[in-house]
Amino acid sequence: MSFRTYLLRRILHIIPVMVGLSILIFAISRVIPGDPVRLALGTEATIEQVEQLRHQMGLDRPLHVQYLNYVGGLLRGDFGYSLRTHRNVTKDLLDFFPATLELTTVAMLISIAVGVPLGIVSAVKKDSVGDHASRLIALGGVALPRFWLAILLQILFAYKLGLLPTIGRGPAPPVAITGLYLVDSLIVLDFRSFLISAKHIAMPAFALSVGTLAQIMRLIRASMIDETRRDYALAARSYGLPSNLIVYKYLLKNAFTATLTIIGLSYGFLLGNAFLVEYVFAWPGLAFYGVDALLFKDFNGVIAVTLVVGMAFALVNLLVDILYGYIDPRVRYGER
């Protein structure tokens, strides 16, 4: 199988999943009890007004027609009208998505920067005190209720120590290019803005990263222990190569391919946690928007967030698979 065919096949696989997801979430949103139109118009709206908006939004048509209309809109990049924000959901997504992208990316970087070394130490010094300590730290991280940790961090760093701002993303840097504040401020070399943004993102990103960090640490450890048992490591050792060299040269290389997969896989974990972390830090991201849409029964908002999260997850995994298939041709032939 050529790389191109592999790529194509991988991309085509996403389509049925996304179609299925859209049907599933569309169905869920339509059984949500109550009348979102009535909600949107407020307590005093007349029955005629409610019916008029319902008609405008096509909610009086049969379900399958509604679904097809919705998908038709999606293909034009139109996620429909939000009953919560009273504007097109597409606009909302464009406003909220960069914040989530920035937050999850920074959290992922922290997880890798801490998780990988911990995993290596743990594997190399298996069953030592260091191994136990790093496993405890990692598993402890996973076990912390995220929203609880978030509140404790706020009390410690913002209130007791006064080091970091409690909530929000801070002011936007002077020029909006990517919508990622850290990147935008660097592009124009505005280090002051960069520092402000970094201070704002520090706590939420850390709170978000603890779980993923643990997952990464655990998998690095497991895969490295596996590798030490493999033939080539044994062979290398029997050639009398110093064990440090084996660790760094052979095992690490393999560990990094493993890390690559893990990044893709734990991205879903990260996005899931973002739902509670963004809420506590009033981080103006997609998950914050999603929870609000959910509590307000804004079904177009709920569908859009779920689809975008699913899409982001699928794309990250696609990217990882492509890289992986590129590095390791065996994958393309379905050996993995």
Binding site: G34, D35, R38, L39, L41, G42, T43, E44, A45, T46, Q49, Q52, Q56, R84, T85, H86, R87, D92, D95, I151, Q154, I155, A158, Y159, G162, P165, T166, I167, G168, R169, G170, P171, A172, P174, V175, A176, R192, S193, I196, K199, Y279, V280, F281, A282, P284, F288, Y289, D292, L295, F296, K297
Partner: protein
């Protein structure tokens, strides 16, 4: 988009830096007086005619001017002159004529005229959103007329007791600005009536203009230099209005000095915690009613004796002293400080024997009956009240199930008798400064389907009294009728009347000029505050 406009953002950034990172550098921004306010409820709309909740009204009150204003200087809610300088009322109570103030400028720089008032009222009546329901019984498009450039007249269909009070909510909008920014919409020549534009910015004459609105997180409002009431040193020049939902986070922001004032929705225990040097917790007896409307159309609460039994078994003292920590016991639906409250209204007290007797007389068997109590998770006190009620009801053999749902869902369940729960926890603040709000507005069948009328109360005697009161021109007679109606209603026990809670708010001690008004949102008119560091 405001975000792209460089100079404003630099200013905003500088201000936020000053706030968040280096408090000492404030002095370098000598002219700027920033202020950060924290609200736990999302601002749903910045179009004043779409606003229904307190947070949305905050935007309207600061960005716009209403025709009349509550007399905050005298410490009352009575309407006083504002955009209107004076007014006359015809003897039959149907025609109201207002003389408008001259020289009031909109943020666009244009002078406000009678045409703008006509435009604003007609817009409200056509859009039928927000508080338009207070006018629809007596006005329709065409009944508001510009007599001359500075005179406006309302010709009501019939006399309407609370009319002056409702004009506190008539925020006057810049007609020309809106007409110049119309988009296609369902209102004919008026297109979308400016709804699109008013999602981003304002069209008012108020002390502040909208600088930036980041949906669901932050609203930044900057001083309008040409405001007709003028400016003095120390007044706030820039308001950062932030939405934060977590109670612990809200406290952290105020205690660490990242916020200057936080909203009223914290629990009494949290306000207790905030009583530390540097922070003022201001407590005022409120004109709010906390009650549990009982669905009178749902068995077994359709039996008046069962409702009375419940009213007698609840432990009011614990609720007032230990849950609300300092509240006045509610005496009927009208908060005791509101003119028109009936001091002779019957009051239910805890009397378990009486409750048991009433239940026996009702003939209703309570075995296996579970009542549903609806509360919103954002307000912990409502949970505690539910727990207390659950305990008390067990004494007469009735089970209670507590169900938490977000406010939006409460509003939605209120639309039908079948979906409305047996009991719901409701905080009801006066909507306009008139006893009518808490009588007619809660117990006249015309309001069924709204969260204010979850009792679905129906008693022809009460209905008739309320209708007569509303149409009555003689103030004395009018008040007598409203009082009589209160007596009739309370005897039927359509709600469990619990408390007129204390209104609490907390701010840093250098914030001066805060005063409690009682009317939804008006105490957060940031123009009234000064900063004395």
């Amino acid at each position: 988009m405001a975000r792209r406009s460089v100079p404003k953002i630099v200013l905003a950034a500088a201000a936020v830096v000053a706030l968040c990172a280096v408090p000492a550098s404030v002095s370098s921004q000598a002219r700027e007086v920033p202020f950060t306010y924290i609200e736990q409820q999302i601002v749903t709309a910045i179009d004043p005619q779409a606003a229904v909740d307190e947070s949305s009204l905050h935007s309207a009150i600061n960005l716009y001017d209403p025709l009349l204003y509550p007399n905050v200087e005298k410490g009352t809610m009575e309407p006083r002159a504002h955009l209107a300088e004076s007014w006359t009322i015809s003897p039959d109570g149907k025609t109201y004529t207002f003389k408008l103030r001259r020289g009031v400028k909109f943020h666009s720089g244009r002078e406000m005229t009678a045409e703008d008032v006509v435009f604003s009222m007609d817009r409200a009546l056509r859009l039928k959103r927000g508080f338009s329901w207070t006018w629809t019984p007596v006005l329709e498009v065409g009944r508001t007329k510009a007599v001359d450039r500075h005179t406006v007249r309302f010709e009501l269909k019939e006399a309407y007791a609370p009319f002056l009070g409702t004009l506190l909510l008539l925020f006057v909008m810049d007609r020309d600005l809106i007409m110049a920014n119309l988009r296609p919409g369902p209102h004919g020549e008026f297109g979308d009536y400016g709804a699109g534009m008013l999602e981003r910015t304002d069209a008012g004459s108020g002390p502040y203009r909208m600088e930036r609105w980041e949906r669901a997180t932050e609203m930044v409002m900057a001083r309008f230099d040409d405001y007709w009431r003028g400016w003095k040193p120390g007044q706030i020049t820039k308001v950062f209005y932030k939405t934060v939902m977590e109670e612990a986070t809200v406290k952290t922001l105020l205690m660490s000095g990242q916020a200057d004032m936080v909203n009223q929705w914290l629990s009494p225990a949290s306000f207790q915690e905030l009583k530390v040097p540097g922070i003022v917790v201001k407590e005022d007896p409120s004109v709010q009613l906390f009650h549990l409307p009982m669905n009178t159309k749902k068995a077994p609460l359709d039996n008046v004796k069962v409702r009375q039994a419940i009213s007698h078994v609840f432990n009011y003292d614990i609720a007032i002293q230990q849950i609300f920590i300092g509240a006045t016991k509610a005496k009927g639906p009208v908060p005791v400080r509101v003119p028109g409250w009936n001091p002779q209204v019957p009051v239910y007290g805890r009397n378990v024997a009486r409750a048991k007797q009433l239940l026996a007389e009702s003939g209703v068997r309570t075995e296996g009956v579970t009542l549903e109590y609806l509360w919103i998770p954002a307000i912990p006190m409502e949970r505690l009240i539910g727990l207390l009620l659950k305990n008390n009801l067990e004494e007469i053999g009735i089970k209670l199930e507590l169900i938490a749902e977000p406010w939006s869902r409460v509003v939605e369940r209120a639309t039908k008798v079948e979906t409305t729960p047996h009991l719901t926890a409701i905080f009801d603040t006066l909507k306009y400064p008139h006893v009518d709000s808490h009588t007619y507005g809660m117990y006249h069948p015309s309001c069924w389907g709204t969260f204010r009328c979850m009792s679905f109360y129906e008693n022809p005697a009460a209905t008739k009294l309320l209708e007569q009161a509303r149409r009555s021109v003689d103030t004395k007679e009018q008040m007598r009728l409203y009082m009589e109606a209160q007596g009739v209603i309370v005897r039927d026990a359509p709600s469990l009347y619990i408390a007129n809670p204390l209104h609490r708010i907390a701010f840093r001690e250098y914030v001066k000029g805060y005063r409690y008004v009682g009317l939804l949102g008006f105490d957060n008119a940031f123009y009234d505050y000064t900063i004395a560091r």
